[in-house]
Amino acid sequence: MAKKIVIEPVTRVEGHGKVTIRLDDQNNVAESRLHIVEFRGFERFVQGRPYWEAPVLVQRLCGICPVSHHLAAAKAMDQIVGVEADGLSPTAEKMRRLMHYGQMFQSHALHFFHLAAPDLLFGADADPAIRNVIGIALTNKELATRAVLLRKFGQELILATAGKKIHGTGAIPGGINKNLTIEERDPFLKGPAPLDIETMIQWAEDAVEFLKDYHAKNKDLMDGFAAFPSNHLSLVRKDGALDFYHGALRAVDAEGKRILDDVDYREYLNIIGEEVRTWSYMKFPYLKFLGKAAGWYRVGPLARLNVCDFIPTPRAQKQFEVFRAYTGGKPNNMSLHMHWARLIELLHAGEVIRDLLRDPDLQKTELVRKGKKRPEGVGLVEAPRGTLFHHYRVDENDRISMANLIVSTTNNNEPMNRAVDWVARNVISGKPEITEGMLNRVEIAIRAYDPCLSCATHALGRMPLSVELYDAAGALLDRKTR
């Protein structure tokens, strides 16, 4: 008898989601889908608003990494006011970078410690009652404290640069609205410990070592789980370095061949198309020259480390070399290695933050530049979860007339569906009974890509799941809830 498994909700944030898995008569998986069930309509309702509102409006897409939307919109609006990405004042660009790398720091810490660590520390089949961040707090107070303080450090940097920890106002078209005073700067450099940048960098490096150790002890899981080949897309700096704030688009295929290089992102419409499928509100982007079926790609920490040539800070570069050597220099296509890549980026963000804090340009006073107004702007950044596209057109009255957003999670839509499908086929398919541990493995797959989907909630713990089994006629056969 054919059945359908429903896992809902998979999320409560920008993409409310659910998973459906359809089984045939022998309990073999016929089809699995990750549905994004929420629709907001930003593209339409920002029309008519003055362009300078975009950076503060659009960040309200997501309270987990609002800085990314804030900056992508600001970069687009820089062009509207006639300023190129390399034309900002040094103070403005460095303040934005400090904000962005602070964001990367807090978000990566949150994603790993609050979200992924419970699965790794307690195991996929552990009692759900302890397999969450409270379980960590109760069993390993030291780790829980580090998790809280790493995130706090990043959030405090955002407060100092954007004026607020969540939904700040720092970036404005053509620049920034404040610099960083010595008084604001010094606590980040000097503490009191442990909330000083050197301790933070050390803790980030400890986290990378923790993961490497875990990997050595759990190779089958880390290497095999939801591993599948894909293309990888990211921004890279002109010289091929990892850069979260600015660069050109580059993509490699699963074997490492460059299929896209040094593309000015303002030309993204030539490269990227989006497909709509009836069963999800989230679109499916693809590289146009490869077509809808073959053009999908991964974004995020794994993709970035697959695409870049090197990391421009020494301690992260050293870790990057180990990471690269593990796959013999070829792209890494293992979904759970996303966590490894993420922690290397956490370390890199810490090093960049330290270098920026020591830069006297942050205390200078040229904050905003203006040029000749233009009707269109495209802004990209590497958000914590991957490449983020913002594209706006503005009419003669300075009102937004068109907005197109491709968020990181959307770029990872197809890979997340593939990861869910991998679990369905390798863990659930053909089994007579569905266990809680199997359901958790569906989450683990999604969680590697995006806490916004695996539940930002995950910030606080784990998402509730219910699985229902229906027969082909739609009658409920069995229900499991946790």
Binding site: F45, I64, Q155, K164, V276, K283
Partner: protein, 182 residues
């Protein structure tokens, strides 16, 4: 005496209010000792298992599922709090309220510059997708709400102070710095 029971949910919000809750930072550790969490993203309780003292909800109602979750919360919570602008007045998502839903959908799925103009026009619509409401509704238009904590998001200090005041049974003193959020 048993610990006070708390439940939380995020409806049509951005999760920023929950993130601001997390911004209480080190105070999270003692909070775990002070209260018990029931239905919430913090644990695995999907259905309410006991009466809840304080329910905290972020986000307004933009689809049928949001309304169902909200009614469940009202049924089980003694005190229900609207946390943040979206819960209180629909917030930023309510900017679509003056626009027909169809226009919003067509802009996203038919007219976007990354949509292939030569391809077939596809609109999401599936038994597995919930129904979008005509407008985004604030929570108090759907159920009775007992308290409102303003902000986009409300600051961590406001959330902390409101919670501790409730737990201690004291009136909440709202000073200017707790209410000024932008």
């Amino acid at each position: 005496m048993s610990k006070p029971v708390i439940a939380t949910a995020s409806l049509a919000g951005c999760f920023g209010c929950h993130m601001s809750f997390l911004d209480i930072d080190e105070r999270i550790l003692p909070l775990i000792d002070l209260v018990e969490f029931n239905k919430s993203p913090i644990d695995d309780i999907k259905k309410f298992t006991k009466p809840v003292d304080v329910g905290i909800i972020e986000g307004g109602c933009c689809n049928s599922e949001n309304v169902e979750v909200l009614r469940e919360f009202r049924k089980h919570c003694k005190v229900l709090i609207s946390l943040g602008e979206c819960a209180i007045m629909g917030g930023l998502p309510a900017m679509r309220n003056g626009i027909p839903v169809r226009e919003c959908l067509e802009e996203a799925y038919f007219n976007g510059p990354t949509i292939d103009p030569a391809g077939p026009k596809v609109m999401p619509g599936d038994e597995d997708l919930p129904i979008i409401l005509d407008k985004v509704y604030p929570l108090h238009e759907v159920v009775k709400i007992d308290a409102y904590l303003p902000g986009c998001p409300p600051s961590a200090d406001l959330i902390w102070k409101a919670l501790t005041s409730l737990l201690e049974g004291k009136p909440l003193e709202l000073t200017y710095n707790l209410l000024k959020f932008d």
